[in-house]
Structures are given as structure tokens and as C-alpha cells.
Symmetry: C3
Subunit: 182 residues, 3 copies
């Protein structure tokens, strides 16, 4: 059950991050392939680096859903493009949701492999933040996250919050919901 | 025999990609070391990421030929520099050849490790395209591949073509030649 | 004892590289989180890529000292900021020290895993140079190392020097000191 919950938040996070990447890529007049790649890298880049560092098989190579979800995001941006562009706030929300969800997944995976909590916090931050950093490198901009304290704090606060819940032995699902919401 | 064939196309692809990287680096007035590194990364970057994701030892660490070939490419660009710069079309051809060859190698390696075909297609695309993407990141330009449908299509068409041949159980060498040519 | 020596030079190198990254990030008006990440990536980026390529667990995940040292570097830059900025030469020295030390560590680790010497030289160069390259990518500049022969030569000369000492069977500590000094 814990696993199902993680899967669901991973997929929502993937969708949120993919849309953020595809929107920025289209703003740069990338073609559909470029937009898809940037969306995909935004969505899976952080988790891929985490899995490489933890010496786990990359999560997206086990299940084609992440590529499919990015495809859906691409279609969504093409169909609802103008509508999405107007919603600057939604964009920000997408980014934040993706970030929070991915931090939680990153922390859990690291603890599961037996790493101490400080490594888990770093892995959570990498999972959440690195996708957006690669996105900004690919579109040749300075990484947005380095200029907005708010993202970074979200990562770390979320992580520490998670740790608080974890040590209090709260059930997994509650812990994850609280951490992601914070 | 299949292995020898793969080695040969890997070396030609390496040469083609290294020349493309070295030429762009010299155009940016990088020094010889910078040009060599950019050439090398263009040539081996995609395959290295593929091997990391597949958890295989990086191919270029098993055999020094890839470093040697990049050195030869560097000398070739220094000696025939002006001549090469005039041949814009050849440059394009080099890039396309490298791309097609590397896609085939990436697909084969992934299937050999037991991954399903959709992973192999992604790995083929990574092998073919990622070197050029890192090259463009290093010279601080927006990745060329994201603006030219033709490259991306070449990757995917080549991959699907390969799959067609593969399922028809054609001999390996023929399959590879057709896929690379397409 | 050899291990302790390696640890000490790794830590000094980390401090030197972290300061170089944090200074460049502050010059770009990154916030404290951005500066910390750029400093950390400059310090551990090269060694992380080396460990991934050698299929070793990333060194900084075994011991929290590298994150702590980067934190100290951040505080140092904040407290002594103006003072540090005036010392352009010291900055250059920091960079060179970090580079030389990391090259030696990279070579040693590769030989320890059983790779031939040419792989060790490449790994040494990656350990020394790659952190600075990622730093420059993150701050969206063309990598400095590609324009200054001196760094590159330092890497390679240091490496070959190390090899000379190594084949002469000099004791480890002496070898490392000479190589780093050169």
C-alpha cells in the first residue's frame, strides 16, 4: 500500500515537472522532440541522478509510465497551450507540487537502502531540485532554483518535517501527505 | 563477428562526433585541451550515460582506442582546419553518421542486458543524441538537436527500423547496416 | 596512514574548490542555497563522476565532512567576503591547489580498483577538472578550464609526474606531496 501511494505521487510529480519543462522549452521555440526531451529530463532527471548515486536501477527504466505521462503532458501543453500560459500561478503550483512529492520519494528510497538521514535529505533535495536544474541548463538559463529561496527552503523544511514524523513513528501515508503539503 | 562490426561502427561514429565537437570548440576559441575534451565528450558522452544507466562499465574505459581516435580527430582538424570548415555539408554528414551508428549500438547493448524494446529505443536515442547535447552545453549554446526535427526523427526512425528487422530475424550485420543507413 | 593523508588532501581540496564555487555564485547574485549548491558541486562533482564511472559508492555519501566543509566555506565567504574578493591571486591559488590534490586522489582510486594507468590519468583529470566545469555550466558561463592551458597542463603534468614516482616505487606520501606540488 505504501508502494502504491509512492507510485501515485511519483506520477503526479512527473506530470507537474514534465509540464513545467515542456512550457519553458516551447517558450524557447524548441521543436516537439526538444520539448519532449526537456519535459522528460525535468521529470526524471532528479530521480535518475538519485538512483545512479544510490546504485539502484533507474526507476523510469522499470516502467514505461513515466515516458507515457510525459507524452500526455506534451499533448496537454499543445492542446491547452494558450490557456496554460495564462495561468502563471498554476505553473508555480505545479513546480512546487512536483518538488515536494519528489523530495519525499527521494528520502524514502535512500532510507530504504540503509543510508543515514543526512544522506536521505540530500537525496531528497537532489530528486526534487536536480530535474529543474538540468531543465534550465538545457534551455541555457541560470537555474531558477538558485534565485528563489522559497524552493530550496521548501525542500529542506519538507525533509526535516518528514524526519520529525518519521521518528515519531507515524504511519507512512500520513507522514508523506504532511511532508508533501508543507 | 557481430562484435567486430559493432567495434568498427563505434570507431567511425567516434571519429565523426569528435570532429564535430572539436570544430565547434575551435570556433569558440577554446584551447587545444578544451577542444580535445569537447571532442571526447561529444564522442563518448552518450555511450557513457547509457552504460551508467545500464550499470555496465563505461565502454571507453575498456579500450584506449576512443581516446586515440579523438586525438587523431584533433590533429585532423588542426591540419585540415580551413578545409574542413569550408565543408559545411560534410560536417552535417559526419554528425548524422555518428548519430545513426550510435543509435544502433545503444539499442543492441540494451537488448543484450535484457531490457524491453522501449528502453532500448530510449538508450539508442541517448547514445546518439546525448553526446551532442553535452557538447552544446559545454560551449554554452542551446542544444542544436532540439531545433532540428531531422536528427530526432533519424534516431527514432532508425530505431523502429532496427526493431522491424530484428523481429524478422534478419542476420545482425544486415540489420545494422540498414538501420544505420536509414 | 596513506588513507589519512588522502583524507586530509581531499578536505583541503574540498575547501579550496567550495570557496571558488561560492565566490563565483555570489558574483552572480545567487542566494545562499544556490551558492552552497554551486560550492558543493564544484567540490564534489569531479569525484562523484569518477566514483560513478568506477562503480564505487560516491565518496561524499560515506562521510558528512564534505558537506560540513562546504558549509564552513560558505560562512567564510560571507564573513570575509570583501577581503576574499580582493585577493584575486589567492583565488587562483585555491583553484590550483584543489585541482592538483584531486588529480592525485583520482589517480590513486583508479589504480586501486585495478584500472590501467591511462584510465587513472583520465580519472585524475576528471576528478580535478570536472567540478569546475559543472560549476561553470551552473553559472551559465563557458568553462574556464577550456581557455587556460595552464590548468590542463597542471593536471596532466601532475599525473605523469605521479606515474614517474609510482614506477620508481617511492613511498606513497612522498609521491603524493611531489605530485600535488608540481
Amino acid at each position: 500500500m505504501g508502494n502504491t501511494f509512492v507510485s501515485i505521487i511519483e506520477i503526479i510529480g512527473t506530470l507537474a515537472f514534465a509540464i513545467s519543462g515542456i512550457r519553458l522549452a516551447s517558450a524557447k521555440q524548441f521543436d516537439w522532440f526538444g520539448a519532449y526531451v526537456v519535459g522528460l529530463v525535468t521529470a526524471i532527471g532528479g530521480g535518475t541522478l538519485r538512483d545512479l548515486l544510490l546504485n539502484l536501477p533507474p526507476f523510469w527504466m522499470q516502467n514505461s509510465i513515466y515516458l507515457t505521462v510525459t507524452g500526455i503532458a506534451l499533448v496537454a501543453v499543445i492542446v491547452f497551450g494558450k490557456f496554460l500560459i495564462r495561468l502563471q500561478n498554476t505553473f508555480f503550483v505545479f513546480d512546487s507540487i512536483g518538488l515536494a512529492l519528489f523530495v519525499v520519494v527521494g528520502i524514502q528510497k535512500s532510507l530504504a537502502v540503509g543510508y543515514p538521514f543526512w544522506v536521505a535529505i540530500v537525496m531528497g533535495t537532489i530528486t526534487g531540485a536536480f530535474g529543474g536544474i538540468i531543465r534550465d541548463i538545457l534551455i541555457n538559463e541560470e537555474p531558477l532554483i538558485f534565485r528563489k529561496d522559497i524552493y530550496a527552503l521548501a525542500c529542506i523544511v519538507g525533509g526535516i518535517f518528514y524526519w520529525g514524523c518519521y521518528t515519531l513513528q507515524l504511519p507512512d501515508e500520513i507522514t508523506q501527505s504532511i511532508a508533501a503539503a508543507s
